[in-house]
């Protein structure tokens, strides 16, 4: 494999007609990194990938590969391998002919084409299917052929456009694991597009969360989960409870939170807490504790009623009502753990250290400047 490349998008903006699809995007993907663009459909992630591949042309900004500006270079000269969501295997060619295509376009000697084709198919474990036609293969096999076809040309960067979305759930988990292993073995810079946060968190070195054409946050999977930059990221990555309200004046070392939905309670004052005003509190379901009676410690205890219960094996997911708000509380499950029936009155314990506080306007506006800082 050729040495891994560094990919950079610099202040890229693109609009289709009046629809702004990408708004001043800047990202840097380090050599050998597994980098994921994560976001809901329509957020611009595929467009950004296609821009890097050369299929779209941005109105502003530049794409750089190893520092070289390739913005004006056509797709067929970029040496970037792309795997398409639909695989785009050519039905009129056999598996081997599909894989050999890029090598033939590079005018390699015949025996080298044969050897590299064999190697690429071997890499994805499909050596014996080389004479089949694409439609004779299963979805997973087609996916591997698409991967082999791309890897055969030893691209400087691997671009993956939702490559797993057409597989069934079980195969998807398997392929995602295989993809990650292959990438680490080859050490190839990889940019992966997905709307599935689980896929993003499990495979990536770093993830960029996109929404409405703007990068919301760039960071490691754990960063995103533990320190979401805004409410969108908090809600999109993992499951989270959100309560709106206002922070009122400090009383000593604590602040009073007043919510029209839930009851009011005081929180210990921290440095990153915004002064006062409208805020959103966000906390993960598993950071909540349920108990018959309020416990002590640093937790804030609130009155609650169990509304519903789902048993998920490793844990039990409760829907509890606190005042006007409905919260999700995940409780670890093990033999002998307490179980609460719907309708039961309980106490919910919030750990203040696990609560993230976003200013209310963070929901509406998006903050590219902050996201860029986060990527450093």
């Amino acid at each position: 494999m050729s040495t891994a490349a560094r990919v950079e998008a610099r202040d890229v903006a693109l609009a289709f007609g009046k629809t702004e699809v990408l708004r001043d995007i800047s990202i840097v993907v380090e050599p050998g990194e597994f980098f994921t663009l994560l976001g809901p459909s329509g957020c611009g992630k595929s467009t950004l990938l296609r821009l890097i591949a050369g299929f779209n042309r941005a109105q502003r900004g530049a794409i750089l590969i190893d520092g070289r500006d390739v913005t004006a270079v056509p797709p067929w000269k970029r040496e970037l391998g792309m795997v398409f969501q639909s695989y785009a295997l050519w039905p009129h060619l056999t598996v081997a002919q599909n894989v050999a295509f890029g090598l033939e376009e590079r005018r390699l000697p015949r025996d080298e084409i044969r050897r590299k084709t064999r190697d690429a198919l071997g890499l994805v474990g499909l050596g014996e299917l080389s004479e089949r036609r694409p439609h004779q293969l299963s979805g997973g096999q087609q996916q591997r052929v698409a991967l082999a076809r791309t890897l055969a040309i030893e691209p400087r960067v691997l671009l993956l456009d939702e490559p797993l979305s057409n597989l069934d759930a079980k195969l998807r988990v398997h392929m995602r694991h295989e993809l990650g292993q292959l990438q680490r073995r080859l050490g190839i810079t990889t940019i992966f597009v997905t709307h599935d946060q689980e896929e993003a968190l499990t495979t990536s070195d770093r993830v960029a969360v996109m929404h409405q054409g703007v990068i919301q946050q760039v960071g490691t999977p754990m960063d995103l989960f533990d320190r979401p930059a805004n409410r969108f990221v908090a809600e999109f990555v993992g499951t989270i409870n959100v309560v709106s309200g206002t922070l009122q004046k400090s009383i000593g070392a604590s602040v009073l939170f007043v919510s029209p939905q839930a009851s009011s309670f005081s929180l210990p004052r921290t440095e990153e807490m915004p002064g006062h005003g409208a805020v959103t509190l966000a906390f993960r379901p598993h950071s909540l504790t349920l108990a018959e009676t309020a416990g002590g410690g640093t937790r804030v205890w609130l009155d609650a009623v169990i509304e519903a219960r789902e048993f998920l094996g490793e844990f039990v997911r409760y829907r509890v009502r606190v005042g006007g708000a409905e919260l999700i509380a995940d409780q670890m499950h093990f033999g002998g753990a307490p179980v609460y029936a719907p309708g039961k009155r309980v106490q919910v314990g919030l750990d203040p250290a696990q609560i993230k506080i976003f200013p209310e306007e963070a929901e509406a506006t998006v903050a590219p400047a902050r996201a860029a800082a986060g990527s450093a």
Partner: protein, 560 residues
């Protein structure tokens, strides 16, 4: 929908089968049979031997192959870039190209041929200009060149339309994957785009080949007789209905037509070309660079000019007093139209009657066959469908000769008039050959009527017959109307059967009139005038046919 076929259903199916057997299967088989038997009924290849011993026949055979082959080639050259351009690129000329796709089909090739002679012939407008400016003369209309030129301009839309549809169905990621792996420009087209669009291309190209190979009118109007179809016509009309060589030619025409259709079908079978896959979202169309756009518009302009030239030429000719050895006619007149309306009203009337009755018969048969196939369990119902469709591949010359041979000595019931010397034979011949168009239209219409609508009627007490009458046919009305119009307009400009079956002038339809007028220099003006009328009829008909289909689609939309 009952689970078994009812007696009335079977009766209707048998009636249709009898009709198709009598007026399609038997005439064609008769022709084939005569070609391979001695008068005493024993099998022989002697007629074929005799055919290939005649140098004129060998020449005609090769000429027909040559003309059909080159027409396919040139049609491809014209159509492929246009199809690729419209489907894949951001392009303002899309409406122009769509116009290009319909314009030629509105005018039958043999009608425009004479006008093309005046524009592109040895002393036509273009060559007069070239002679003046550069001292050169391009033999565009000389002999076989003329046939190829006229047929190409007429038939390339078949390839354009088929390839456009095929291209539109290809997942654009297929092309992007190739670009991503290093392919671009013509290599991309040759290695990926064209192979993926090949099913559409094969369908279009085989159709062009058959149509040209079987065409009688265009070579005759251009005075080219050393081709197969004209030879068949000349043998049968000059030497006689007994001459076996004519039947050998028919055998070859049928053989090639069926082989081309079967070959195309065989090519398409067993191939996985369902290329529009899940997730294959439409990528934005590519943009043309300034240079590419200039070339594209230039190409479209040139083709549009050529496509319009027979229309313009015909119009000029129809208003001309004299037109020869000059760029445009020297003086203009309305006399040609006056001539046509005094001398040829009978022909126009004949066309309206023949084609109206044939189209009526077609939609009745088409609706019945569509209903039998889609809604009943009558055994062998698919055979009716296939038989009716096969008529598409049957050359008019063959059917015409087949009628003359099969029905000689057969009188119309209750009269002394031989069938082949009556107006009835036109209705029968037209309806059989245009049935595929009406059938396709009716089938499409019926497919859009949900079975539950019929079941609801039956649930409320309507018998099957009443249900068809009150629910099915009214709901299919748009499709039936479109089928009627298509059958009508294509029959109105049919020439091969027409030439063979016209036994006396009082029975001749308009298309025969155009052909007859075009035979003489003096007749060209009135011929062109009659041609203009025919083109207007076809254009108006085509417009309404599209309107019916569009109205139905809108209706479906509202209901949906």
């Amino acid at each position: 929908m009952s689970s078994r076929a009812s007696a009335p259903q079977i009766a209707v199916a048998l009636l249709i089968a009898a009709f198709l057997a009598a007026f399609l299967v038997v005439p064609v088989l008769t022709v084939v049979y005569v070609a391979v038997t001695n008068p005493d009924g024993s099998l022989t290849l002697a007629h074929f031997a005799a055919f290939f011993e005649l140098s004129l026949m060998r020449e005609s055979f090769w000429n027909s192959l040559y003309v059909a082959g080159l027409t396919v080639l040139f049609s491809t050259v014209v159509a492929l870039p246009l199809a690729y351009l419209t489907v894949r690129f951001q392009f303002r000329g899309a409406i122009l190209i769509q116009t290009l796709g319909v314009l030629p089909l509105v005018m039958p090739a043999f009608v425009g041929a004479a006008a093309m002679q005046l524009l592109f012939g040895r002393s036509g407008t273009v060559n007069l200009l070239l002679q003046d400016w550069f001292g050169i003369n391009i033999p565009l209309m000389q002999g076989l060149n003329g046939v190829i030129f006229v047929e190409t301009l007429h038939y390339f839309p078949f390839i354009l339309l088929n390839v456009s549809v095929a291209l539109a169905n290809i997942d654009t990621a297929m092309e992007e994957a190739a670009q991503n792996l290093g392919a671009s420009g013509f290599r991309l087209f040759r290695r990926i785009v064209f192979p993926l669009a090949r099913p559409g291309y094969v369908a279009g190209a085989s159709l062009v080949f058959i149509k040209v190979f079987d065409d009688l009118g265009t070579p005759l109007v251009l005075n080219v007789t050393n081709m197969l179809a004209p030879q068949a016509y000349l043998r049968v009309t000059s030497i006689g209905i007994e001459d076996p060589i004519g039947y050998v030619i028919c055998f070859i025409l049928v053989g090639f037509s069926i082989a081309a259709m079967a070959g195309a079908a065989g090519f398409l079978r067993g191939r996985e070309f369902a290329t529009l896959q899940r997730g294959g979202a439409g990528a934005p169309r590519r943009t043309l660079t300034r240079w590419q756009a200039a070339i594209a518009y230039g190409w479209i302009g040139l083709v549009l000019l050529l496509v319009l030239s027979p229309h313009l030429g015909l119009l000029l000719l129809s208003f001309s007093k004299v037109w020869s050895y000059t760029l445009i006619p020297e003086s203009f007149t309305l006399a040609n139209y006056a001539t046509v309306f005094t001398d040829s009203t009978r022909m126009i009337w004949n066309t309206l009657v023949y084609c109206g009755l044939a189209a009526l018969l077609d939609v009745v048969l088409g609706t019945a066959i569509a209903y039998l196939v889609l809604r009943t369990k009558v055994p062998g119902r698919q055979i009716l469908d296939h038989l009716a469709t096969v008529a598409l591949a049957m050359p008019g010359v063959v059917l015409g000769i087949g009628y003359l041979r099969t029905f000689r000595g057969v009188d119309l019931p209750f009269t002394d008039t031989p069938l082949v010397a009556s107006w009835v034979v036109f209705v029968l011949a037209y309806s059989v050959r245009r049935l595929p168009y009406a059938l396709r239209s009716c089938t499409a219409a019926l497919q859009q009527v949900h079975v539950s609508l019929e079941e609801a009627a039956q649930n409320l007490g309507a018998s099957q017959g009443r249900t068809i009458h009150r629910i099915v046919v009214p709901m299919m009305a748009g499709g039936i109307a479109a089928g009627f119009v298509t059958s009508f307009v294509t029959a109105a400009v049919e020439i091969s059967e027409t030439i063979l079956l016209t036994s006396r002038e009082s029975l001749a339809p308009m298309s025969y009139g155009i052909y007859l007028y075009m035979q003489s220099i003096a007749g060209r003006g009135p011929g062109a005038a009659l041609g203009v009328i025919a083109v207007i009829v076809v254009a108006v008909g085509t417009y309404f046919s599209h309107r019916f289909v569009a109205a139905r689609a809108a209706h479906q939309e509202r209901r949906g």
